[in-house]
């Protein structure tokens, strides 16, 4: 086992899909106590926690709409009180509100940016203070291949995810000398509720000829959080079956 300090992990948007898979692997395979954050799907978060506990891990549901200002303090303080300092933060909460730019309304733009980008900023700002003082921390931002790569109808989503990658790089260099790493993963086409309805024809564009699974992404996040990746920071690990190769 590693020499990591005592603390816990927070995965945002973890009641299902990629977030649930990340929370599960961190708790079950790596022994982190994990806060399973959810906005509205309490039953889903509870199921994730029960699955973790059945497999011998430790986790707790943590309510909070991370897109709302002030939720960062609430969510992190609640976890700290129960399980000690939050030393792993996975900013996974995300949403889509697609439309061609000419038809995209302000709400669709603002909500996507608030959830996918601003929430990650606020949680990181708050969590990194603890990590810097602990001389240990792991932040992983769940970005997307859309952002660096165009996808018509997703200007808001692409802007948020490209922003997340730039944010990742910059925070990484700010805190690298304190043993805190900040990385991103960029999933491609992954089978989740969020990608439902995107159309099977997209699969033809994936060299691996299959959609990824939440577990494919979670395995990469697990690596970035592990001691094996202590010298990896400021990077984006693409998990897309070759889609953007």
């Amino acid at each position: 086992m590693s020499s990591r300090p005592e603390g816990c992990a927070l995965v945002t948007g973890a009641s299902r899909g990629i977030g649930a898979a990340i929370a599960t692997t961190l708790a079950v395979d790596d022994g982190w106590t994990v806060g399973v954050n959810f906005r509205s799907d309490e039953a889903g978060a509870q199921r994730v926690v029960e699955g973790i506990e059945e497999a011998g891990g430790r986790a707790a549901p943590v309510a909070g709409d991370v897109a709302q200002r002030g939720s960062d303090e609430k969510v992190l303080a609640e976890l700290e009180e129960r399980f000690g300092p939050v030393l792993v933060l996975v900013n996974n909460a995300g949403m889509r509100a697609d439309g061609l730019t000419v038809q995209l309304d302000d709400d669709a733009w603002d909500q996507v940016l608030a959830t996918n980008l601003s929430a990650a900023f606020r949680l990181t700002r708050r969590a990194v203070r603890t990590m810097v003082r602990a001389r240990f921390g792991r932040i992983v931002n769940v970005a997307s291949v859309v952002g660096p790569k165009a996808n018509a109808g997703q200007a808001n989503y692409a802007a948020s995810k490209a922003g997340l990658i730039g944010f990742t790089r910059t925070v990484a260099v700010e805190v690298a000398r304190r043993g805190v790493t900040v990385n991103a993963v960029a999933p491609g086409l992954i089978e989740t509720d969020l990608t439902e309805g995107l159309g099977p024809e997209l699969l033809d564009a994936v060299p691996a000829r299959r959609a990824g699974t939440p577990e494919d992404v979670a395995a990469c996040v697990r690596f970035l959080i592990s001691d094996h990746a202590s010298y990896v920071t400021g990077t984006t690990l693409t998990v897309d079956g070759g889609l953007s190769a």
């Binding site: 203070r129 810097v132 003082r133 700010e174 805190v175 000398r177 304190r178």
Partner: protein, 83 residues
């Protein structure tokens, strides 16, 4: 959050303790010591700001921190803010 009274002596003690935690030796610390010669950088100062906030409830932002050059500057800024 309960906070301490920000007397110059108290602030100096908290700031010095925070700096020693980060790297400089205690005997290097005096009011005129510059952060540059102490090899204390902006991230270090952000950490000191955090400690100061916990003790005295005084928030120092990026702009504040960029204007202080010496240990004495930091102590004076906190004492003045806490008034």
């Amino acid at each position: 959050m309960s906070t301490d009274t920000a007397t110059p002596e108290q602030v100096e003690k908290v700031v010095y303790d925070a700096l020693v935690e980060i790297g400089p030796e205690r005997d290097q610390l005096h009011r005129d010591a510059t952060f540059e010669e102490l090899d204390v950088d902006s991230l270090d100062l952000a950490e000191v700001s955090q400690v100061v906030e916990e003790h005295f409830g005084v928030q120092l932002k990026g702009d504040d921190v960029s204007q202080i050059r010496t240990v004495g500057d930091a102590v004076d800024l906190v004492v003045n803010r806490a008034k």
